[in-house]
């Protein structure tokens, strides 16, 4: 029988889903662009050119120039770094928090569970975007360069952070999108809690934390992974929305969202500033969504009997 192991079945099904595969290609491409940004950019994204302000797309500037004469294509390439890093880090944070809270909630039950569930309820009741907006606007964006943080951390962060606000954005998005993962994990833990392998481990005297994270979680990573991929798409959307409104990534650091702000301000004379960055956001989010959905379909055991 040709490879019916989990992995092979999974890959076959994923590849068959052409949309998901296309999404995967785009995701990989974006990654490449972000990592090799300085080498791919036709111009220096910071170069100001007083003679070519707000020019429409041309051979020299395939996506036009912005209000300071800078090349839009180069800025968008650099901007992909921001979008992707925000996506990954914030989802990382959200996933970690979600796994942790969901697991203890499911495993221990009782009042721990009640409190955490209530907390999730509260967080889901406040309109998330309102919350993110308020917190980002209120927190001091420069807190990471202030003297409150030890010098060595500051220096290493300086290299990563194109814009100091990014750190806050990542954290805040992370802190407000863990709820879905938590519920997911909790459900998984609840369903696996009473299975034999867990009871066996407990009988052997294994510590709770060990049981939760090594035994139970390993079996439930799949849905969490899917949620994470979909979460990246969401985080990219939120970051661009925040940057568009002017409180996310601040110019001169380029973010697709804040180039769109320029598009809005110059809507009558610079259509390229509105069209291209939005298209980039759409394609990125779409790709991650397709990959996520594809993963979900591929990993969903309920649909397996359709194939076999």
């Amino acid at each position: 029988m040709k490879g019916h192991s989990l992995r092979n079945v999974f890959w076959r099904r994923f590849r068959k889903n052409r949309l998901a595969a296309a999404g995967g290609v785009v995701v990989a491409l974006m990654f490449f662009v972000a990592v090799f940004a300085p080498f791919i950019s036709p111009h220096n994204p910071d170069d100001i050119d007083r003679k070519h302000v707000l020019e429409s797309p041309s051979l020299k500037h395939p996506l036009g120039t912005d209000d300071l004469g800078r090349d839009v294509l180069s800025r968008m390439i650099l901007g992909s770094r921001i979008s992707l890093s925000v996506g990954f880090v914030s989802v990382g944070i959200a996933t970690l928090i979600g796994i942790f809270l969901g697991a203890i909630s499911g495993y221990y039950g009782g009042w721990v569970d009640s409190i955490i569930m209530r907390f999730i309820d509260i967080m889901l009741t406040i309109p998330t975007f309102f919350l993110i907006l308020a917190v980002i606007a209120f927190i001091d964006p420069n807190i990471w360069s202030s003297s409150a943080i030890p010098g060595w951390i500051r220096e290493s962060l300086r290299v990563i952070l194109i814009d100091p606000n990014i750190m806050n954005i990542m954290i805040v998005i992370g802190l407000t999108s863990w709820m879905g993962v938590a519920r997911l994990v909790r459900a998984e833990v609840l369903s696996l809690k009473e299975r034999e392998f867990v009871l066996a481990a407990r009988a052997l005297g294994t510590g709770d934390m060990n049981i939760i994270f090594r035994h139970i979680m390993i079996n439930s990573m799949a849905p969490v992974f899917v949620a994470a991929v979909l979460g990246i798409a969401g985080a990219v959307l939120v970051e661009s929305a925040l940057s568009f409104l002017g409180i996310g990534v601040q110019p001169p650091a380029p973010s697709w969202g804040n180039i769109l702000t320029l598009g809005k301000d110059n809507i009558e004379i610079a259509w390229w500033l509105s069209v291209f960055p939005g298209l980039a956001i759409l394609i990125t989010v779409l790709s991650y969504n397709l990959v996520g959905e594809g993963l979900r379909d591929a990993l969903d055991p309920r649909l397996w009997d359709m194939e076999i």
Partner: protein, 333 residues
Amino acid sequence: MISYLFKRLLEMIPTLLGVTLISFFIIHLAPGKPTDILTELNPKITPEARERLEKLYNLDKPIMVQYGLWLKRIVKLDFGESFSTDRRPVMQKIWDNKQSLLDRRLFITLIINLITFAIILIIAIPIGVSSATHQNSIYDKVMTTTVFIGFAMPSFWLALLLMMFFGVYLGWLPISGLKSLNYDALPLLGKIWDRASHLIIPVFISAFGGLAADSRFMRGSMLEVIRQDYVTVARAKGLPEKKVIYKHALRNALLPLITLIGLSVPGLIGGSVILESVFGIPGMGQLFFMSVMTRDYPMVMCILTIGGMLTLLGNLLADIGYMLADPRIRAKQ
């Protein structure tokens, strides 16, 4: 039924309290005192004036006391006065009794969202159903792709595109505000069309994303229901396909959708910030954004709390709807 409602209301209270707690403490994230916006970099202000303002707003008392005082007031829906220089009571800024109903901010945001809901329901359900019944056909694939795009579409980008196309290029639709400058001079029919034309693009955008999610969900729900035994039985009984789908399958497939809709309330309210800011619509979302930017803390706290209340209300209505629709639950009561 009543006891169920009562229980639900009681359950909502701790959640609401939690919301107020978060709303209150958020404003203390910012460095500096809340009254700082009242003083400016202007060579004409004295330190004594600043101190006076701080006393005026109770900022010299310990924080838990401040929270308690605030809580006492908001029970009466008195959220205090706005910090912005007009100093009006906060509630009045979102629900001004002197304005016509159509002009009140909260009302505006609510209406836009309600219309959006209606549109989503009207369109998403048929799309979902027909996608499910024609699964894997070209129609289904096209719809799925459109839906995916809708899901991934940044609302503010769509807004810019539509603004450019319909507003700037074609000049058909107005691109900002709720009514034109000559509104008062228009006849009644003109007034209605005027308001409607201003809302067309924003509502469309607001509905677009929700359409995607809900029609997809509807499709999934229908697919599940169709596989159920009772549907097979209905078919076996010889019932016409249309009846099988629309009378039996649909009613059951709708149920989870109701819950989903109830859950989308906070998302819609949150999304109103972007839409209202882009289109200059004087609703609650735009006010929230402005208040956050100008550190108008009483306003921010109020809108967060109201937003929470609206969400809870939405959930409650969804639950009631679910109860009314699902005979199984009703039987349990």
